[in-house]
Symmetry: C2
Subunit: 424 residues, 2 copies
């Protein structure tokens, strides 16, 4: 008799995986090696920003009071004391009738309470400059700590180090950062029909594309990977090799061998290993046979042997688990909204994840990457999003607004739009 | 007198950079090392897909003719010949009154012209199975080459190898792939006020965050990086070191030193090196002082010393140049559309690129990452998109639809939506 499996909703299966996220130990890394890692502690400002009152422009530091009455035809002349470059400390106090030339980012000298932009002044060789308008006290001065107080949290624990985070870490003197180690994930392919990419095709066989795809997905998700080859056909030896593999990894991903059928023995391997099955059927297409199980603190992901189902199963469940295990507080694929570019009129009781791309023409329009048969491995090459079509009794029409999930792999052929001017 | 600079539109500057993209030589890489690289030739199918007529389901391969008259109460009994697993070759021809058990993906045996799903049959221990419905000829048979003919192009030149492309390359036996080499890019910081992240703060000085940020952006864009430290203050030695650095790289990025002002001498360095300036002012905020120049086939990018302007200048000009130089046919940031979550009522003649994030609540809503002063380095840590506000005489209101550019660094805290069922 065939095993009956109760389908779980995608969201519930995602939550369940996160409850079983590993808690990996922390390590210190030099900033330049921390790209893509997840911060394991809040990062604070080691100094106020700005650390002193500073000028946002090239210009002159003046006493606002001295500019009273200045106008286009009634310039006020002030004696230039010195030039203050960014990074240098002013030598002189600005006293009545004087001004200091100041560079962008430089420290406001004592006595001065305003900066006038260079463009609004003139100077000659006499050592004096002329101001053509009045300044208000405090004008063009960026106050010490106006952006950030010393000790304030600038980036929180759980943030992935992308280039903007790197900038902030560098700015606040964090030349070493505390991150969680990367999870180590093993990949095992199942299926007697599988050939490696370098092997010549034989009748009845296909190439093992899933393992290479998953290894690449794992690298993108920030995991260390170990390719363990193909699982033995023989049950006792499959149980033994799976158990051995689990010793040296945080999680194990198998591809294939999860369908309901007498040739698929992964469920039996799980059973003999004493694994606790979290789910083995999800209300989604493709990938409904995606499975997950736990043995102690180790996780087993059973992804479909079908390339597209394998891809989707990874992105929805394994990827988030890997990111969450590093402490990432935003471990799921980024969601967006888009307008369907084609009809999907056939209703489906399960939620569909259509491999697609998007473009913008007024609004963001998503279109399938090709025929969405789960056999169609070639469409994966053209996929930059998953279009989410929740299950139900009706289909979807072109023009419907739907959710999309971004796969972090998209680029654009277009430079910026012709500039569309507001108000013209 | 201050130099007058004519601002270029962003789009025109982007196009100009691409005209000066390098054409890097090609190299063969093993598939598992090709992640993120750009294909230098079209990749073809080394065999038809599927390579033989195959079964999409677990079931029985039958002669449709034999199932005539089969019904719920009038089953047709067929003798089971053999079991055909995925990857194996059928031994027997299906003849009248017989059927072969067939697994998902397995080859259709000769004689059979339909597959009936396992669920629609029953069997007993007598070596016979029962069919409860009629099959049509051709039913549940995936025809040889129905997805792809041998020799057909499956992925085109100029495509970046993301996991879906890896799957397709593996499936078609491309264990080695031809890609363009990665460009080698040098980074030089300018500014006497700069301290390295490990150095203690001194009065008047700030940390060099730009160089570390740009090194990370470069790595994301697929470049090899060389950090060359700070540029000398002394003009002749700055010219010499810049010239020397250019020898060993494809492009050089400097941060800072590009403003109009007497302390900024990068324009003079360009001049003495005999560089041909492509642009030195762009109609954008921040980053209007972003410059680019060429010397022979080498490119000099002059990014602003202001962290946010530096960031934006990189993403709009340097990133696309780096990707295009590798042959990437989609080198620009992916664009999308979103609804403004806040007012930007002040008009600006230049196009603004607001550092922001987005979320979806019905439609995609974009919001600024924090105060958008170009000084605000901390907002970079919270930026996952750039919000594009074309220049003009009016400002923008909350609710306006605008373009956004994705920075490939975003994730989500939310698992999939509660499933919204169409038609319920």
């Amino acid at each position: 008799m065939l095993e009956k499996r109760k389908p779980l909703q995608v969201r519930d299966a995602q939550r369940m995986m996160l409850e079983h996220a590993a808690s990996l130990h922390t390590e210190w890394l030099p900033l330049e090696k921390a790209a893509g890692r997840v911060l394991a502690e809040d990062v604070t400002a080691d100094a106020a920003v700005p650390p002193f009152d500073r000028s946002p422009y090239d210009g002159y530091a003046v006493r606002a009071e001295d500019t009273k009455g200045a106008g286009r035809d009634t310039p006020v002349h002030l004696q230039i004391l010195e030039t203050i470059g960014a990074g240098s400390v002013p030598d002189k106090e600005v006293t009545p009738g004087t001004a200091s030339r100041i560079m962008t980012g430089a420290m406001i000298p004592s006595g001065a309470d305003a900066v006038i932009m260079l463009e609004q002044t003139s100077n000659d060789t006499s050592g004096e400059m002329a101001v053509y308008r009045e300044c208000a006290a405090g004008e063009n001065i960026v106050r010490k700590a106006s952006e950030m107080a010393e000790g304030e949290v600038v980036v929180t624990k759980g943030t992935t180090v992308h280039p903007g985070v790197t900038a902030v870490l560098a700015a606040f003197g964090h030349s070493r950062v505390l991150v969680r180690r990367r999870p180590r994930i093993g990949v095992i392919a199942t299926g007697t029909e599988l050939l490696e990419p370098h092997e010549a095709l034989e009748t009845g066989k296909i190439r093992n594309s899933n393992a290479y795809m998953v290894l690449h997905q794992l690298a993108e998700a920030g995991a260390e990977t170990v390719y363990l080859g193909k699982l033995d056909d023989d049950l006792p030896s499959a149980v033994r090799s799976t158990g051995d593999a689990l010793e040296s990894v945080d999680a194990l991903i198998t591809t294939g061998g999860v369908s309901v059928g007498d040739f698929d023995f992964l469920p039996e391997v799980y059973k003999q290993l004493g694994a606790d099955v979290l789910f083995n059927k999800i209300a989604m297409r493709p990938g409904s046979v995606t499975s997950a199980a736990v043995i102690g603190k180790k996780v087993l992901f059973g992804l479909s042997g079908n390339p597209s189902a394998c891809f989707v199963g990874f992105e929805l469940f394994a990827g988030p688990w890997i990111r969450a295990s590093q402490g990432d507080e935003a471990p799921y694929l980024q969601k967006g909204r888009a307008v369907l570019g084609e009809d999907f009129s056939k209703p489906n009781p399960f939620t569909r994840f259509i491999r697609g791309t998007f473009h913008d023409s007024g609004s963001t329009v998503c279109v399938p990457a090709g025929m969405d048969k789960s056999q169609a491995v070639t469409t994966l090459a053209h996929t930059s999003i998953l279009i989410v079509l929740p299950g139900g009794t009706r289909g979807y029409q072109k023009g419907d607004e739907v959710d999309i999930l971004y796969l972090h792999s998209s680029g654009s052929q277009e430079p910026l739009h012709p500039e569309k001017r507001a108000g013209s």
